[in-house]
């Protein structure tokens, strides 16, 4: 019976993080990096690595910040922790993946104030027990990662007619997709598709 309950809770965690409460497409959080940076598959992968490491490690370490410290100080500590987590990741990126990470530009250090850290930690993640919190953070991040990759691939294919070095034989290109406004419109369409799927699932269940 308990196993069943745990299983159901875990399924809900996966379903919410990836689908129902998707960070970008359903909650409207961490939008800037995807719109500004995920214009190619390569930059999307660099973004995914940077975002996932910074966010997961920051939330994990921040969860040890005592709750009896006043909120105004706690929020500063979370961002300081994020900025400190950024240091080894930036050193790693500079040493091993310089070309890929340079495509992120200033968006790379700006990830330390992403809204998953600033808003979701207090109102959601830290209200859960540690294990549940870590699994939720993982799937919320994974939800973001999937959207970043999809957006990067779509924008690269339809804006340039190629993916990486491989030219894809499509008969038309939409160069506006690599712009900021193209990014917003594409995410809007993807958010509508996700919402439609959710409506269909709801009507069948």
């Amino acid at each position: 019976m308990d196993n069943n309950k745990t299983r159901k809770k875990f399924d809900k965690t996966i379903f919410d993080g990836l689908f129902m409460k998707n960070t970008v497409l359903a909650s409207g959080l961490v939008v800037a990096p995807i719109v500004a940076v995920a214009t190619t598959l390569q930059s999307a992968i660099a973004l995914v690595i940077a975002f996932s490491l910074i966010t997961f490690l920051t939330v994990l370490i921040s969860s040890f910040v005592p709750r009896d410290i006043v909120y105004a100080i706690r929020i500063i500590l979370y961002t300081i922790i994020a900025a400190m987590v950024y240091v080894p990741i930036a050193v790693f990126a500079d040493s091993f993946m310089n070309q890929q990470f340079s495509s992120l530009g200033i968006m790379f250090p700006l990830l330390v104030t992403n809204s998953l850290i600033i808003t979701r930690t207090e109102i959601h993640f830290f209200k859960l027990d540690k294990l549940r919190m870590l699994s939720e953070v993982f799937f919320y991040i994974l939800g973001f990662d999937i959207v970043a990759i999809i957006v990067g691939v779509i924008r690269e294919i339809f804006a340039t007619g190629a993916i990486g070095d491989k030219i894809i034989g499509i008969h038309f290109t939409l160069p506006f997709l690599s712009t900021t406004f193209g990014g917003f419109i594409l995410i809007g369409v993807l958010a509508a598709i996700l919402k439609k799927i959710k409506l269909i699932v709801r009507s069948h269940s």
């Binding site: 409207g28 800037a32 105004a72 500063i76 950024y86 500079d94 330390v112 712009t179």
Partner: protein
Amino acid sequence: MDVVMNAILISLTAILVENTVFSKALGTSTLFLAARSRKKFFAFGSCITYFSVVSSVIAYFADYYFKENEYNYIFMPLVYVVIIGVVYIVTLLVVWKLAYPFFLSIKKFIHVSAFNCAVLGVLFTNAMSGNSLVEYIAYALGTGIGFIIATFLVSAVYEKLYSEDVSPSFRGLPITYIYVGILAMAFYALSGGTITL
């Protein structure tokens, strides 16, 4: 006179050509929060402007001190976060002590308006431009005003975007994204951008 004209030009550029939301997408999540309330969007935007300007002034001296360091790209986020943190705490204490009713009205969103991509983005953009102190302030002010304009444009139609006139699949967040995209396209054209469709 030249300094004033230059500052005005930098501010106008930050408002129209390099609008933080419409041209760089910085602070979009914060904009979605601010646009929910027509009454509070101006206070929200003003807080962002305040944090951008005051943090920029302090960051100017930090940039000057650290600009020769070859590893500054690694620890500058930490320096900027500490600067914003100090400004945030001092502001909270002053407002709490001197204007408690005002403190109560802003306490729900002041942390989001201090720690976001728009404010931190101003500090990084200023550092890269290597401008003077007046130009730092002008760019920060322009970014804040640009954010207020962006929030106003979304806030003005917020209820319509969530109304039943919009088809269920697009209602709410999806149509808001598309609307912001169309506004970003208009700002792109305003700044002289062209693109082949």
